[in-house]
Symmetry: C2
Subunit: 502 residues, 2 copies
């Protein structure tokens, strides 16, 4: 049999021996790691280097030679492709990268992410992920403790805060009526989610995905600082009830994306208690404040809420992605709401305590061990250094806001209460124009041009956006400990230099 | 101001200069990389080493010292934690790991995953992920070409095949009635999904999450090989219609999780055309067959379907996770169905072609550049070597099945048509018992004990499960090119050695 079998399969492969060459693989990995350290760590964080080397999609396509072919390429070519992938990528670890709510190089978390990739496993059973299962549990427990849920709770790490917010909607819906899991929403009363008009878009994406519908997300007006107005929340709840709809959850945002506003959790919790509504806090961005004695007041009342989404990959700098969903419930709601009891994976006749097989709490099957990235970083830094990371980020925001107030042509959108510093830059030609719709219309065009110029120059990356009726403005967020006052001065000087002729 | 400011912030941090020490970080990363190569690459793939070092959750908790404290730890301690995390993790790259539908070490994809982690960005805008945006596009186009959608299509990489299957449900629902996105399912007719009884559990998890309900997933009977019976599908469609429900999509599985069965796509496509139903193929596991001229017949008809989920992280060995969702539609259905048009991220007044900002196609916000892992691997290996990877895996399955037929005490559950080899092991004490419910009841207890023993010994990992009325059986899947015939002989010998006294 064997010989005829080999004959049958001859040429292309050989079942008699391994066709993998481990020495070639190891040598390739070592060389690639050198490239990663040189290009993606050292060079990428060097302030003398560019933040990005801008090319249009059409140019970059040519530079990268994207086509996938029948034949493979030599090791040296692949190593060059590694260099190129890094070279043409944006350097988000660079001290002049301020474009998103993540930035900077975090060595412990980065190493943990490398280990997670190398170990290559899924977090569904203890059997295949014993270490990461326990680490996820430890991290979740610690986060629950920090939140202040004295009786404990449950949780899970998800691929991004949007999913975490969707978990909240699903759990709230399940608590309202567990039957929906089986029968769907077809004969259900119209369910309504309440959230502020400044909330993250994942709430409406979730409502669409989950069969609730974007129109059944009722947006509550915010005050001049972007915070939900509790009395307006109650009005919207009454409105929904008067329409015969069923409000079932409120989403409060702790740290809105643009302004960094914190909805008043304590007051919202009072209203939710009164109306028996699930209260979720989207603290993906603002959750970090809870690590700081000085700033945790922003989240006052969080110990009273039903669930929290918190992304350590934002201000705390864990590697992407690292997003926790936490729930105060102690009745295995997460498990009941999501479980499908697949017998091929979650066998009940295993020889260990299968309560450690946490995969059925998830709507995913494959799931990455993201908690490990936060765990290793926390071990290395301790809570104290995480606290300093938050305090420093907010001190930087304070410094930047004061600088903006002092400089001609710069105008704060509002006083920052968190790390978001939002401001307009008025080129000299606009500074003496009267406050009018024409001025704002002109000003609206400034940020996109300044952004284009900074990217083409590669000097820095700062985000901009409009907000409601407000013309395009810049949003600066300092996260990385590598950033110093000099970098912030540079940003303001550079915006002026790039935009002064407009 | 400056001096008073520094005073205010004194002690804990200093805004005047960077508090990050790049040299310390670089040195740490270099040392950790050495550990990763030594422990997670060399040692983890060495057949002389154990697949796993088994400890119960309670024992392992003590070994790992999981607690997170106020103070941080020294570099040497953190490096030891890295070693320990690898040491106590299961070695999924080991040639004796056969427990899941992923296995083996793939150096190119692993390096790509390291780069993705080091570069640290999100795949929502071209602005922050220019390289990965283009690579995702290139990989999706190539996959679409391989599938045979001559007029093209669209797609996106998701964190796992479960999400991809849910995307299919959402798109099918959106095509049936776009209004559901806004108004939800409350006044909708009862929607029904049809899928085989052997389908992956993500279909029912998705139905629950999306407000359709698990009871509205109608399961279609399968034949003796686990394949959906087309006539039974049509009966179920008629049944749903007769109940006044609206069948709107069929999920066909190409490569079921346990048996590796392929639903007959061509025949199912005929039925879907007749009844105007969206046809999705869950080819997460079986999609790889399309790379092989010899085995692509398993997916005959796939060019006719509406959408496909295909995970290159399974048989093709891309790093976890690497899951593509592909859709034949050319009308931007993915965008229309999922978009929320967040103005802070998807500004329309950017200076480049914003059709390259693909993030609004996703239900996520943060999204990893998983396509890069497949792209780099494909560049290095070429389509031809990917084809050989598939052909070799299936030849290995063939070899194993023949061996099982030759060996006393081993019995195939069915002839494999793909890479899944399912079999019972009967210890000598059971071999002469008459075929009876008692025998099967006894046999049901064998696999869990053998599994326990192999894990405690660390000699190998092979999965087992029941299926319907079938008693627990082993499922072997060979993926890694490092596995040779000797490893398969070892598996069978070892099962006998571990179970012969039962």
């Amino acid at each position: 049999f064997i010989s005829s079998y080999n004959l049958d399969c001859s040429g292309s492969f050989d079942v008699n021996s391994s066709t993998a060459d481990e020495q070639v693989a190891e040598s390739f990995i070592r060389q690639a790691m050198e490239i990663i350290v040189d290009e993606a760590v050292k060079k990428a964080t060097n302030v003398q280097e560019k933040v990005c080397e801008w090319h249009s999609p059409e140019q970059l396509k040519k530079l990268l030679d994207l086509e996938l072919r029948d034949g493979g390429e030599a090791e040296s070519e692949i190593l060059q492709r590694c260099r190129d992938a890094i070279r043409y990528s944006v350097k988000t670890s660079h001290p002049r990268f301020f474009n998103q709510l993540y930035a900077g190089m975090e060595p412990y978390s980065m190493v943990a992410s490398f280990i997670a990739e190398a170990v290559k496993t899924n977090l569904y059973t203890y059997e295949v992920a014993p270490v990461f299962t326990l680490m996820e549990d430890a991290v979740l427990r610690k986060m629950i403790k920090v939140i202040g849920w004295e009786e404990g709770g449950d949780g899970i790490f998800n691929p991004g805060g949007s999913l975490s917010n969707m978990y909240a909607v699903n759990l709230a819906r399940y608590r309202y009526c567990p039957d929906f899991k089986e029968v769907g929403m077809f004969s259900a009363p119209r369910l309504v989610i309440l959230t502020s008009q400044e909330c993250h878009y994942s709430i409406s994406k979730g409502a669409a995905l989950m069969g609730i519908g974007t129109k059944n997300v009722y947006t509550v007006p915010t005050d001049e600082r972007g915070r939900m107005i509790p009395s307006a929340l109650e009005e919207k709840i009454m409105l929904a009830k008067s329409e015969g709809a069923v409000p079932f959850m409120v989403n409060a945002t702790a740290g809105t994306t643009v302004l960094g506003a914190f909805d008043p959790i304590d007051e919202i919790a009072d209203i939710c208690e009164k109306h028996n509504l699930w209260l979720h806090v989207d603290a993906c961005w603002g959750g970090a404040a809870i690590m700081s004695k000085k700033h945790k007041h922003l989240l006052k009342g969080i110990h009273r809420v039903d669930s929290v989404a918190w992304n350590p990959h934002k201000m705390l700098m864990a590697s992407l992605q690292c997003s926790a969903f936490l729930v105060r419930d102690k009745t295995s709601l997460l498990q009941h709401c999501h479980s499908a009891r697949a017998s091929y994976l979650f066998q009940q006749d295993k020889f260990y305590d299968v309560s450690y097989d946490t995969g059925d709490k998830s709507v995913q099957c494959s799931r990455k061990p993201d908690a490990f990235k936060f765990w290793l970083m926390w071990k290395a830094l301790g809570s104290r250094e995480l606290e300093q990371r938050v305090d420093r980020a907010l001190a930087m925001a304070r410094y930047l806001a004061e600088e903006i107030k002092k400089r001609e042509g710069f105008r704060l959108v509002l006083e920052p209460e968190y790390a978001n510093v939002c401001f307009w830059y008025l080129p000299p030609s606009m500074r003496n124009l009267p406050e009018s719709p024409e001025l704002w219309k002109k000003l609206h065009t400034v940020a996109p041009v300044v952004k284009q110029r900074m990217m083409k120059k590669g000097s820095m990356m700062v985000g901009y956006q409009p907000l409601g009726e407000k013309a395009n403005f810049f949003r600066m967020v300092v996260i990385s400990p590598q950033v110093s006052r000099q970098d912030l001065d540079f940003v303001l000087n550079e915006i002026h230099n790039l935009g002064k002729d407009l």
